[in-house]
Subunit: 303 residues, 2 copies
């Protein structure tokens, strides 16, 4: 196996993402030692049972001692508090990163606490499932998935390259962009789809018991796909919408305009308009499958 | 193998659904002989190549001779024309059915053409994929999926039972309800989700080339699920929205109300409201997985 890229990796927050990074870093030899700290005693106990860290004692100062890569993997809403708590223990030359699904607000929360001499390089791996917690993680989560780095102006190039190497070693493809650009792209590719999915499932839930049970029974006709997305962690998604408000509201505005147009076509019986609209959207699916971003198997290949 | 339920099955329209019924009827011995007619010469040629019919000569009078079950499997928009064309060839005692995704409008189109002595029993199998045409079909498509029968008032009970047996034989579970009720339930479980999926993919498509290519690249963060649904056949979906206008517009109205509420929570930074909303929607997913309507594997189990 190739040399580890970091001597000691410290992960703060051992949920789906944090525990997956720990497992992957060990399996692919990306870090010499791995320390994990989580605010929850229950999670720490489970981390010890799973045996996915070399140091799971739970003491922050101890965990960060000698750590040259620290990744904050908590929900976005507590990133600032966590950064403040760990700041005194960060060593000169270390790289501090995170995995938050929003970048602008995370930078605003974390940056003020970063001591001089520590390289703060925000990141966001585009990988996850609808499950959360340390048991949901697995080492291959990042295989062939993007990890987006959003280094701030004047960031140290060699530190950025080292972090990129880390992600590549655990299977990801790395892309770099500004925090603002990240937040716009993700508002469209991830945050808006999740909002819409939550909303349509909510609409069904508003009906009485009888309709709700029929919706569940006949969900395979389209609805069930939305329920998977809408089963994602409420804390994570609350934090995303609170912290990427502007970009999400902009995308939602555009979505609403388009939906009004479709609604008008249905009301007026404009078959040609509907047909054209439904034809246009097929090209995007084709590109996604061609670029290996999804399976071409009918119905995602599920049975 | 058990006795065939029908002596001769005639299928009009050999796309995904028609060709799947033909394959299933043969594999599970549900019909003695199978005839297929399609308006397209190309489709007929392919049906002969695939060898999925006993009679694929293409002559309507010939195909319907002796047929005791006739299923119209064309797009919803041409059901009336098809019914008119086949009416003179329907034999007394035969069952005429269809597979249209909308029932009220299909009944209105077909019923006036049904000769006395022929049992018209509309049906809708809740099974399909995002692909279409005779090559997309397969014999196991209906396994463990619902097929909804919507018999009209005064329908012959033994004819309904025989059609139910047919669907059961090819793997489906049968449910009976009125056409109006069907159209309301499906507006919520299928038509609205498809409309929303088409719309969000359209919103992304409206952006310039650069954004569009980033959306495709980073689609795995949520967006790709919507593109699969929005890759469904444009003709089929145009016909569905034109023919289930009222129920779809009603569901869309409710969806819009809920979306405005979510939008307001985001704008006001109402974290508690968002958290509650996102928690409520998880229960529906749990029921869907428990009732075997979807896989519990993370990310639909796809890789
Ligand atoms: N899930 C995804 O699909 C995905 C994908 C990419 C990025 N992300 C990002 O990854 C981050 C974590 O998401 P996740 O899915 O891994 O969430 P998760 O499974 O819920 O894990 C978060 C962990 O952080 C712990 N925690 C909370 N507050 C803490 C604190 N102050 N100090 C230390 N630990 C704390 C939580 O403990 P408790 O459970 O006791 O609160 C939990 O164990 C989020 O920022 C999210 O935006 C998620
Ligand atoms: N796809 C699904 O998921 C699904 C699920 C349940 C029910 N349904 C319903 O099933 C029906 C068929 O859908 P599908 O997915 O099987 O569509 P499809 O694959 O496009 O097949 C429809 C077939 O009907 C042929 N056709 C069109 N007009 C005709 C006519 N006047 N006479 C004879 N054949 C004609 C078409 O030929 P051309 O291609 O040359 O036009 C095509 O071969 C629709 O009513 C739909 O609502 C679909």
């Amino acid at each position: 196996m190739a040399e580890p890229i970091f001597d000691r990796l410290a992960i703060i927050g051992a949920g789906l993402i944090g525990s997956s990074i720990a497992r992957a870093a060990r399996d692919y030899g990306a870090a010499g030692e791995i320390a994990i700290v989580d605010a929850s005693q229950q999670v720490m106990a489970r981390v010890r049972e799973l045996g996915i860290a070399d140091d799971a004692g739970g003491d922050m100062a101890q965990a960060l001692k000698g750590a040259d890569l620290i990744i904050i993997c908590t929900p976005v809403g507590v990133c600032g508090v966590v950064a403040q708590a760990i700041a005194p223990h960060l060593e000169k030359g270390a790289i501090l990163s995170d995995v938050g699904s929003v970048k602008g607000a995370v930078v605003a929360q974390i940056a003020p606490h970063v001591p001089a001499g520590v390289h703060f390089i925000p990141a966001h791996p585009l990988a996850g499932t609808e499950f959360s917690g340390p048991d949901a993680g697995f080492a291959t989560l990042f295989q062939n998935r993007w990890s987006i780095l959003t280094p701030l102006e004047g960031a140290d190039a060699s530190a950025v390259a080292r972090l990129a190497n880390f992600w590549t070693r655990i299977g990801a493809k790395v892309e770099t962009m500004s925090p603002e650009h990240h937040d716009k792209v993700l508002a469209l590719t991830s945050h808006l789809p999740h909002l819409i999915a939550y909303n349509i499932v909510g609409t069904a839930d508003d009906f009485g018991e009888q309709t709700r049970s029929e919706v569940i029974k006949f969900s395979a006709s389209g609805f069930r796909d939305f329920t998977r997305i809408a089963a994602s962690d409420p804390t994570m998604w609350r934090d995303i919408f609170l912290n990427n408000r502007e970009a999400v509201l902009e995308m939602l505005g555009r979505f609403n305009e388009d939906l009004s147009a479709l609604q008008r076509m249905i009301r007026r019986g404009d078959g040609e308009g509907l047909f054209d609209f439904f034809t246009r959207t097929r090209a995007i699916r084709r590109s996604i499958v061609e670029q290996g971003q999804d399976t071409s198997a009918p119905d995602f290949g599920r049975r």
